[in-house]
């Protein structure tokens, strides 16, 4: 996977776990490093505060199958300038500055302290009004607000306001032993519990140099792919609901419930919680593997028929084709990830770029579509459902043939820091952990939802107000992950 190594003159290379490159820069040099990385074609992942003694800023970037972590002394003014230089950095840098250097942030509303009753007007003109949609939504949805400026049909401006759900989850990790902290990870974004538990566990394992047993990696892949299937089916069911295609909605809801029940049979939890932990998995799945394989087969048969019907229903596809067009350039400027990026022809997938666990063996075929509209994003998900079912069958088959340990012991009272990543159903998830004497000192979560939502404001180039729900569902994000 590794291409040409990225060279940054003047940077000190520090030791790091595999697939991670740590470059340390001096005071006033962070800006230079970021510009060099952008010029080299890197994808921005996140920015966070680190450092025990002196406040340090770290930026994470994906480039040529490696994760580059660039660090330098934290200087709020130059950081604030970077937020304007690279659109992808705008929200993460604003969040960082509002949290660690609130005095440096002057003027304007705060990203991390939204006020439901404040209404912004950016577009002036006859009959243009602002609809504050949310945080109380018109259905069973998570809390987020969209300020939609419209004259009735066209949508000249949308502003997404996250952070209504900010619970301070990163701070909840601090002081906990990793075995216990994984329960917090599972509850950051509940619909992606396995992804969060796995990314967190991998970060801890990489920080402490622990090798996970192969059997545990296979079980993790089973839970991760079942979770992806449930999330993708949820998106497709919601698209069907929005078109009032109620039988279609019911069909995809039935399949989603079946996957949820499979997870309950395997782990006792409908969201497969309590099984993935640092070092491996806590127990064997509590379902006969032959029966599990049979369930996967039946799911595949049903899905095949329902997908065919979905694509043959013009009232459905007409609403999605051409809606919420996102260009490849926009995806790259915002460093978007997941099905959103893949629907605009950008083949980014953490399972492929920096394979982890069982994905080193499973050989993922990255599904992309070039069109960049809501239909493309739904089709990417349909393609990934097939790919997930194929990988599930492969992992289950390997589990059937072999035996082995499930859990590697963690060394006690050790210190270390590392990142762990997983391709969550919403996109690449990165978790940075710092451990001191066996307990978590600092955790930073870079959720795919926060990164991708910054793009929502640009998703209405030719669309009208009634396309809103189609476009929102095609993003398939979760505010809980974005707000943490």
């Amino acid at each position: 996977m590794n291409g040409a190594a990225f060279d940054l003159p003047g940077a000190k290379r520090e030791p790091a776990p595999p697939d991670e490159v740590r470059l340390r820069l001096g005071a006033g040099e962070f800006d230079r490093g970021v510009r060099a990385l952008r010029a080299a074609g890197a994808r921005f992942v996140t920015a966070f505060k680190t450092g025990a003694r002196e406040p340090t800023v770290a930026g994470a970037f994906a480039l040529h199958g490696e994760l580059i972590i660039l660090s330098a002394p934290l200087e709020p003014e130059s950081l604030a300038a970077l937020a304007g230089f690279w659109p992808a950095m705008s929200w993460p840098v604003r969040e960082l500055l509002e949290r660690v250097a609130p005095d440096s942030v002057v003027g304007g509303p705060r990203l991390t302290e939204p006020d439901a009753s404040r209404i912004d007007r950016g577009v002036t003109g006859l009959d243009v009004f602002t609809i504050p949609y949310g945080p109380v939504r018109s259905g069973i949805f998570e809390a987020i607000q969209f300020q939609i400026e419209t004259g009735g049909e066209d949508v000249p401006r949308i502003q997404t306001r996250p952070f209504f759900k900010h619970r301070g989850m990163e701070a909840r990790f601090e002081g906990l032993a990793p075995e216990r902290a994984v329960y917090v990870a599972e509850r950051v974004a509940g619909i992606a519990s396995a992804a969060y538990a796995c990314a967190f566990s991998q970060a801890v394992e990489r920080a402490l140099g622990v090798a996970v047993p192969a059997r545990a990696e296979r079980w993790r892949a089973v839970y991760l792919e079942l979770e992806r299937i449930a999330c993708h089916l949820d998106v497709i069911a919601k698209e069907a609901e929005t078109t009032a295609l109620y039988v279609g909605q019911a069909r995809f809801q039935i399949l989603k419930e079946q996957v949820t029940r499979l997870r309950a049979r395997l782990t006792g939890s409908r969201f497969a919680r309590g099984v993935i932990c640092p070092g491996g998995v806590r127990f064997e799945g509590t379902m006969e593997l032959d029966e599990l394989l049979g369930a996967v087969d039946s799911l595949e048969r049903d899905l095949h028929r329902d997908r065919h019907l979905f694509n043959a229903t013009a009232s459905m596809t007409d609403r999605l084709i051409g809606s919420g067009q996102l260009s490849r350039a926009l995806i790259e400027n915002y460093s978007a990830v997941g099905p959103l990026a893949r629907g605009s022809g950008v083949a980014t997938d953490a399972r492929h770029e920096r394979p982890y666990g069982d994905y080193k063996r499973l050989g993922l075929r990255v599904v992309t579509r070039p069109e960049g509209d809501a239909m493309a994003r739904v089709n990417v998900r349909f393609g990934e459902l097939s790919e997930s079912l194929r990988m599930l069958r492969q992992s289950i088959d390997q589990l059937r043939r072999s035996d082995g340990a499930l859990l590697a012991p963690l060394p006690r009272s050790r210190s270390g820091a590392a990142s762990g990543w997983v391709e969550a159903p919403q996109g690449e998830l990165l978790i940075w952990v710092e451990l001191g004497r066996g307990v978590l000192r600092r955790v930073h979560i870079a959720s795919p939802s926060l990164r991708n939502w910054a793009l929502f404001d640009h998703a209405f180039p030719k669309d009208v107000l009634t396309d809103f729900a189609f476009i929102e569902h095609s993003f398939g994000l979760t505010p809980a992950g974005a707000d943490r």
């Binding site: 945080p135 109380v136 259905g139 900010h166 619970r167 329960y183 039988v247 809801q253 919680r273 979760t478």
Partner: protein, 255 residues
């Protein structure tokens, strides 16, 4: 369109018979924690097993678990299987916060407002409109509430309809520990709902804050902001558990 209808019909009936017929969870389902009686007093150190402080050991060495705090992680079951066990149960909701503690000591009754709602619901042929507000959940509660309207649970057969307008709602389902930014929207939503009305706290986070309770960013549960009629613990509670709570709130089930 006809093809969809044919496809739907071919599925046959899959809807649960609950509450007329019992609905049993899959074997090994982690629905709730129960305390196992043991001879002799329990050591106070048992408390430390729980990441959310749900385990209590009183002066006499009697152990209790507050399901309103329990996140069903299983740490206690793993460390002390002679004292704690998972039960495969759905019907864990209760009409008072105290009644969530097992072994149960508190007898719960319906609050006056919810009692009126129950009477009115009977008079109106049991048609009840439900509205949901997210106050900082992890997102899984929303999935389980949405599932109530899927063909497996189909709560419309029991007269529960979803409404977008709080002014039309009889029951408010609240998920999440109530974050700072959601406090005012929650209060305003509740305010504009006409009486009689009932409020259901959905999930451990809504009951007590759960793992998100530490720190000053949340109210540590819905009852820190508004009176709660029915509590459904669980991380997240299963659809049947939430349906059980709806039936409790409308007086159609006693416990």
């Amino acid at each position: 369109m006809l093809a969809w209808i044919a496809r739907g019909l071919r599925q046959g009936r899959i809807t649960t018979g609950y509450p007329r017929a019992a609905e049993s969870p899959p074997p090994g389902y982690r629905g709730a924690i129960e305390v196992r009686e043991q001879p002799g007093p329990a050591p106070a150190e048992l408390r430390a097993l729980c990441p959310t402080g749900a385990i209590e050991v009183d002066g006499g060495g009697r152990v209790s678990v507050d399901r309103g705090r329990c996140i069903l992680c299983g740490a206690c079951v793993e460390a002390a299987p002679e004292r704690f066990a998972f039960v495969a149960a759905y019907e864990t909701a209760a009409r008072s916060r105290g009644a969530l503690t097992v072994p149960r000591t508190d007898e719960s009754t319906l609050g006056p407002l919810s009692q009126t709602l129950a009477e009115q619901a009977r008079a109106l042929g049991r048609s009840i409109h439900v509205r949901h507000i997210d106050c900082g959940s992890d997102g899984s509660e929303e999935w389980e509430i949405q599932a109530l309207w899927n063909p497996y649970y189909d709560v419309q057969r029991l007269g529960f309809f979803l409404t977008a307008a709080p002014r039309h709602a009889d029951i408010l389902l609240v998920s999440g520990p109530v974050t700072r930014a959601m406090r005012e929207p929650l209060e305003r939503t509740w305010q504009v709902m006409p009486a009689p009305k009932a409020l259901i706290a959905v999930g451990t986070d809504a009951c007590s804050g759960g793992l998100a309770a530490g720190g000053s960013l949340t109210a540590g549960g819905v009852d820190g902001v508004l009176p709660v009629d029915v509590y459904v613990p669980g991380s997240p509670p299963a659809p049947i558990a939430i349906l059980h709570a709806l039936l409790l709130a409308t007086g159609r089930l006693a416990t």
